[in-house]
Symmetry: none
Subunit: 194 residues, 4 copies
Amino acid sequence: MGSTPQPRRGNTRQRIQDVALELFAEQGYEKTSLREISEKLDVTKAALYYHFKTKEDILVSIFDDLNRPVEKLIAWGKEQPRTLETKKELLVRYSDALIDAAPLFRFMQENQAAVRDLSVGETSKKRLMELLDLLKDPDAALADQVRCVSALVSMHAGMFFLKDVDGKVEDKREAVLEVAVGLVTQAHSPDPAK
Amino acid sequence: MGSTPQPRRGNTRQRIQDVALELFAEQGYEKTSLREISEKLDVTKAALYYHFKTKEDILVSIFDDLNRPVEKLIAWGKEQPRTLETKKELLVRYSDALIDAAPLFRFMQENQAAVRDLSVGETSKKRLMELLDLLKDPDAALADQVRCVSALVSMHAGMFFLKDVDGKVEDKREAVLEVAVGLVTQAHSPDPAK
Amino acid sequence: MGSTPQPRRGNTRQRIQDVALELFAEQGYEKTSLREISEKLDVTKAALYYHFKTKEDILVSIFDDLNRPVEKLIAWGKEQPRTLETKKELLVRYSDALIDAAPLFRFMQENQAAVRDLSVGETSKKRLMELLDLLKDPDAALADQVRCVSALVSMHAGMFFLKDVDGKVEDKREAVLEVAVGLVTQAHSPDPAK
Amino acid sequence: MGSTPQPRRGNTRQRIQDVALELFAEQGYEKTSLREISEKLDVTKAALYYHFKTKEDILVSIFDDLNRPVEKLIAWGKEQPRTLETKKELLVRYSDALIDAAPLFRFMQENQAAVRDLSVGETSKKRLMELLDLLKDPDAALADQVRCVSALVSMHAGMFFLKDVDGKVEDKREAVLEVAVGLVTQAHSPDPAK
DNA sequence: CATGAATGAGTGTTCATTCAT
DNA sequence: TATGAATGAACACTCATTCAT
């Protein structure tokens, strides 16, 4: 927009990440070109390459930043007793993470194919599997295992799918959480050791 | 494998669709080039243009063929009484459709961003919304509405997410169905008119 | 130069090779861009890619075409008795090949670094070594081995180095040959079996 | 290693030259980027520009340093009587220079195309021509002129070509020299003034 | 029913170079 | 002495699409 050479502050790297995530989420990874990103930032394409080695590297850096809370959550979960309370708390905290990094998760959800053979794709899938392992009991009935899968995917898809449904965002979040907790509760074997 | 067994003499059209769907599902829409498709078929790119107007047109034609059952299902649903039985039957039939056209649905799921502004993207979303409307009661509690959303997305994602879980495909399908039915049942207001 | 869409004859592939070799020899491989080649041909860069898979592929195709006589020469040489007569004949024939494909050999000579890790680089070096093996006796004195090397490199470099020296091309060629033959003769062990 | 032992306090300039020459010789001029050089030195690209005006300037500075002995040799040669003894001595001294600055000469040999329109290219060619003029008699038979050319190019190429031949470096050097001297001797008109 | 030949617009990436600090 | 941040021009290459034959 401006043509005055703004006193390049040191925040360019951050701005690239912000704009990139916005466009990636809006149009998809493949359909977002570096030209587009650089134009929106009013810098040249080459400037992007000063800050990031490749296009994928931009995505990786965003992912690394925003995904840290999920990693912490999983680490936390692994140290807790495998009680229903723990599971419920996992869902609550995961819900928070999902909302904090909504664009990233929306992006990951909608670009699974594009991202499959990128490093973030694999990492992301691994995280999801770890979370799942914290929720489900390995030798529960198949339907109960599905309930845990269902709880997770509902939290992901739910948030975006619900955009077209009336209601306050906070209410929707709670409703999604309630359903997820219900599913996990149902799946929880009340007395695993007996 | 296709729904309507169109016995075209020259089966090239069909073969293009098959190979295209396979590659689209495997690598994503954007990352699959017409060159790739034509090479796998051992014809020239130009040949594709004899059978289809554009790349998108290939996708549309696949979608039209494979999605017809879902359209029929929705049409059927709209004529039924809005009972719990109807809803359960909807889920059962939808589950069948999902399995018959698994690659297509997997593709739609994993390429949401890529197809968002393609006609199939919109159509697909509309279908899903119509299905949802058949399952949920418009003025049910928010959580109950979420349960219906959850039932649907679980059916979609569930099938693919469960690939890494042990068990026979048929068993998994039934488990997914059981969970979906459970959610919809819970969401069904037992006496809407009272 | 014209803008009238000339009736694309089927010789484009050949024309690409011709122009490419010309530019490669004139400016070097790295400094010759595909844009340059295509502009000189009045086609688009993409057209080059219809005929050749990569830039290197253009070079390889030229090399394959023009280097065939040398391959034949070596094959012939391997079947001859290792007499001085054979060696002289090898030099004469090699001199012919050098002149027939002068631009290519000039190119190879002046772009050794650029071509070192291209396939043509290795192939070319191998050919030269095979030729050398046909000229020199493996256990001759070191100086005699050098004489054979010298004969070969003199033929290569000589032709181009002599551009700035007066004289008819045919005379120069014969002079170079005379010197090369002299060197090889001197190096030839008159009675290897004694 | 360098000719004039300029004991610059900050030795960065020297280090740049060393690394640059190493990479230029190894990979070629065009294929060696300033990024590569600076990374190998663990400084920034911009630092190179403090010491040298351009990429070419780096090459020029290396060339100027290492080529001085050749210039001196030519100046010396021009003052000597044009006897066979002088010519032999020229070859011996040139051989020394070649070995002292082997990487540079290897580089010049393998990158003729790349440096053709750089100043070093022209200078280098001029030096070679001057040397040649000291060796050959202007109105000798063509073949004798070729012998002198051959002596020179054999010294250049010979050293590198011989890498794949067995033998001690010192022996090879002497063998090359022997051959060169032989050629020049043969070319020397025994009684030019008579 | 299909191909051979080509195009125009685009992609991600690299380069030598600049300049305020 | 050097760097951090950026640029402009180029590069090799790919893509969906067209059209005469």
